[in-house]
Subunit: 683 residues, 2 copies
Amino acid sequence: MRGRSLILAVLLLAGTLPARAPEGTAPPAGAPAIMPWPQSLEAKPGVHRLAGNLTFSLDACRDARVAAAANRLLEMVRRRTGFPPQGTSPRQASLILRCGGDGGRVQTPGTDESYLLEISPGSILLEAPSPVGVLRGLQTLPQLIAPDGESYCLPCLRIEDRPRFRWRGLHIDVARHWEPVDVILRNLDAMAAVKMNVFHWHLSDDQGFRVESHRFPRLHEIGGEGKYYTQEEVRTVVAHARDRGIRVVPEFEMPGHATAWLAAYPELAAAPGPYRVESSWGVFDPSMDPSREEVYEHLDLFIAEMAPLFPDEYFHIGGDEVNGKQWNANPRIREFKAKSGMRGNRELQAYFTRRLEAILARHGKRMVGWDEIVHPSLPTTVTVQTWRMPPRFEDNLKLGYPGILSRGYYLDHMRPASWHYGIDPGAGLTPDAAGRILGGEACMWAEFVDEEIIESRIWPRAAAVAERLWSPAGLTDVADMYRRLDAVDVELERLGVRHRSAFPRLLGGLLPAGDPAPVARLAAILRPRGLAERQRARKYTRETPLRRLVDILPPESAEARRFDLLVDRALGAPSPADRAGIRESLERWRLGAVNARPALQSSFLLAETVPVAESAAAACALGLEALDHLEAATAPPAAWLEKASGVLERARSFPEIEIAVEPAIQKLVRAVHSRFSRQGETP
Amino acid sequence: MRGRSLILAVLLLAGTLPARAPEGTAPPAGAPAIMPWPQSLEAKPGVHRLAGNLTFSLDACRDARVAAAANRLLEMVRRRTGFPPQGTSPRQASLILRCGGDGGRVQTPGTDESYLLEISPGSILLEAPSPVGVLRGLQTLPQLIAPDGESYCLPCLRIEDRPRFRWRGLHIDVARHWEPVDVILRNLDAMAAVKMNVFHWHLSDDQGFRVESHRFPRLHEIGGEGKYYTQEEVRTVVAHARDRGIRVVPEFEMPGHATAWLAAYPELAAAPGPYRVESSWGVFDPSMDPSREEVYEHLDLFIAEMAPLFPDEYFHIGGDEVNGKQWNANPRIREFKAKSGMRGNRELQAYFTRRLEAILARHGKRMVGWDEIVHPSLPTTVTVQTWRMPPRFEDNLKLGYPGILSRGYYLDHMRPASWHYGIDPGAGLTPDAAGRILGGEACMWAEFVDEEIIESRIWPRAAAVAERLWSPAGLTDVADMYRRLDAVDVELERLGVRHRSAFPRLLGGLLPAGDPAPVARLAAILRPRGLAERQRARKYTRETPLRRLVDILPPESAEARRFDLLVDRALGAPSPADRAGIRESLERWRLGAVNARPALQSSFLLAETVPVAESAAAACALGLEALDHLEAATAPPAAWLEKASGVLERARSFPEIEIAVEPAIQKLVRAVHSRFSRQGETP
């Protein structure tokens, strides 16, 4: 860890060093901040300087998406650099785009995404066997543009790149909280920037049905409660995605997680209605009745309507968390099971899934489902998305199912990017099983995000998942991942994603008036806890306004992360500068936490945070004391360690908010402990 | 100043105190953060609590704009509070809207904007004689919503409000730098929030012609160089503005500032072409030829096309800064002048203006022009917008012209909001002259702003002008203005204006990669200098990328402003807490300036700022020394004051960037000087 943080420090200062071919677990020192990191990068001498806007030429690129993407790149560069538009003096193109094929009407997981990028002082060549490959390379380019001492420039290099996995998705739940189209479009832009290629659109659940259906209008009217995408909007989203080389896989949850569906059409349910669209979270009883032909007739008509709207070959039917209570309670279903020789509800669900699979096949679709659908009777043409505990993923692959991994990629759990980065779909698998991995998906479940918050809870962390799914498995260096993630973070906001600006924008609304800066300073060392902890802490429903501090806090504290590296380095090889840095940070945070108090007390949304601020101030004061002892090399008073442990325990005790600098302060306290207890042992 | 800063501190902590009727120069302590402050506000006991979304009912409101604005308010409240949509349980309306009249098709300066707002615990009544009055009141409401210790609420009160002036404009130059439609729409939203009612759209100048003309397509093709508003886009802007009670007054500059026009139609010029659209700034020679009938025929046809596109009664023809060189050089024009008995170019321009006025009148338009158009022969039906030195404004009013003041409201001069706030159009005028004031306009000239920057250079400062033009003349307290401006600042970003997020978003692009925080910390105590200083500092043209630190810095430093108040207070009545606050700030900034250095050095866009950072660090260190002397009551060494003066002079010496905390540090140094020189005098 210590070695790594030194590398980080060097990299931060040495952005202009030439990159060398990657070896080991990290890109070489001074490598450009590309994310996901390419399969192969050969640094060359020199740089390509931008003197004005880029100009491009197309060579054999028949797909209109390429020119559109190149124009977007130019616009992005113009906005970043402030270069004036080219006006009436076109020059020789500096960017040559060359590709084969027309890309086809509908992208598939088999679409070639590889590209070759060669940057020399005089020109940039981007070449790919397919248009989508060019789109990918066009996303690498802006990550290479940076100012050096002289101008904006790109390092000369040769990149040969292709994804490790061909399914790199982002799943967004729009049922539990509604997300307007503009939010979806911005997420697609962000996905494209990090080369994700599947937008998994979770369109129905207990809490809402979000697509307009002409055939079954009660679905969006009753099930959607006015919050749904019109078919025109769906086409807009699909076209926007296609333009960026992103497939759109719709998900309609059945037979369970279907309360909104059944509120609209109670006759499909396994128990008599009426049903109301659900407003709380969890697993609910209502489910479709697999024993009735009318259900399949309805689904056939529904899928017939949706199939052309979502041109992708894959169609997600959910299939998770059916509790079977309604099935058990219904005598007719019990009889159906007995007559068909089914031993339990797993077999009944498998029957439902097989029937559904046949309907989908008739409409030209392949089925995807969550891993509960797996059953010996289910054909292995079905793709399984695993969200449950290991070894499910491996098991399902071994059974022959193509697999998508989401376990470990749940963004609503509020884990740091490094944690998700450590989850490798291929880890420990036999080559046979590994060969059936399609890829993975980061999942944004929407219990705790609304339209104002969701971007800040997806980005930039999803980029770490994107890299895990694209880049070589051996690339595991966390410090370098964060170096590049920080750059992507800034890049995404420049692209129009609102993840970084969300917190300051929302914080103002939590205060009566005046300066939000003191609270912002405190918030910089806090992070929200995840779904499970928050569900335990209090009762949340769809009616709960998500406007407390915990709701709007960014998932990670960059200040805490940097402080942790600093403490590691200082404890390993003490230097006066590092200790001064630690002292300065702790004093600043302590003061910030104290100064935030009046603002916190002024608002019912923030008053609950007063004890957190007090605890943070105490923890920072403790860290300063620990530093005093370490610097003066004086043993603390006997009671100090006990007091310290109480302060730290208190700092960890808040059910919904984490004081993100507590672990690093704990390291300082432990260092005092180990230094002076050892001294005690060897007098 | 000291008394005021104490009031400020109290207000910041006491947002929930009931307001009382305003008297004197500031709203009473604890008053809500309404901006512009209303004509009359009577506080009542109690609060109106928001338990869920607002619901509204319409009483005699036939104008569709009222319902649209009320729905926007509800959506805004929903986004701010996170309240769930009302869904299927509508309650009794809590907000009753009542108005007379249908508002007419085209708003005029005579449109009644008054409204009455009564908030009681059980209901909110908003009543106005015209729909536009209701729109104004609907903008007051969100400024009253704030969290207290219990819930979101509004204070109970009665507001009777109407504007002091009926023309409260924002002028945006879209010629020197192009601004896309979305930027214009966001500015209209911001204008509406602070009750501005005229968008003055500066659509043509030497550097561009920005409206599509079917009759004269070379205007937008050649003159606009591809950057122009289609007529459809113009209609979108006009409708968006009308919806918010904002008139759109187009400006087409003639006979001077017309190079782009003449590049398209050189035959209109007073000297043979060809002309090229201008790319630098200043006053240029090309102008229309007032002696040729073809010019008036062209203008007649042009205005015939534009008149219905811009339904407002007023039409701005520019008229400023004609240098007359082409007129003097053209023998035919000289002969025309001699034949007509004109003594000089002022008379020639007056002849042109009169002809134009007749054309406009024929198309149902009233003329507005900059104050150079004034001439004894010009009828007083023409409205004059004054931008030149006093006493022009008074003179023009005395001559009988309705007047719009812009002198003192030029936002590109980078003056603080307090400076603009101090400019009163009515100051020192006779009642007769004052009676002819229509109002004023804040002007955003676009030499130094492009689409990424412009919002941060307009907002929130324009809100101070908006208040000066709406609120009672006696309201002059700067500290309270800033208290409310801070709230508006936050509110506008919540509305979607991108002024606050612009700086962090752009700063990332100026750095090679990594953490922009150290530079941001330095930038927080810097501000950009204005147009004149920057023009002197170096040569700027339209081709100069606006992506150096000076380009993206916000116009005011809130940290410096607060620090200045703190220093004033501490020097008046020394308190340990204030001194500790001063010390903490200075130490933080000093360290920030030192730590920013590596990042500054890494980029050609920031390297020029290294000396600024060094000077800022030295100034902060000096401030700390001054504080030491004041605290210890020890006289400084003999050479200290001389050194201090050198450090401060250096801090003031940067041609484009101001170290915004320098004046306050200077106060500390002066305090040392006066303390110890006095002691020296009375030993």
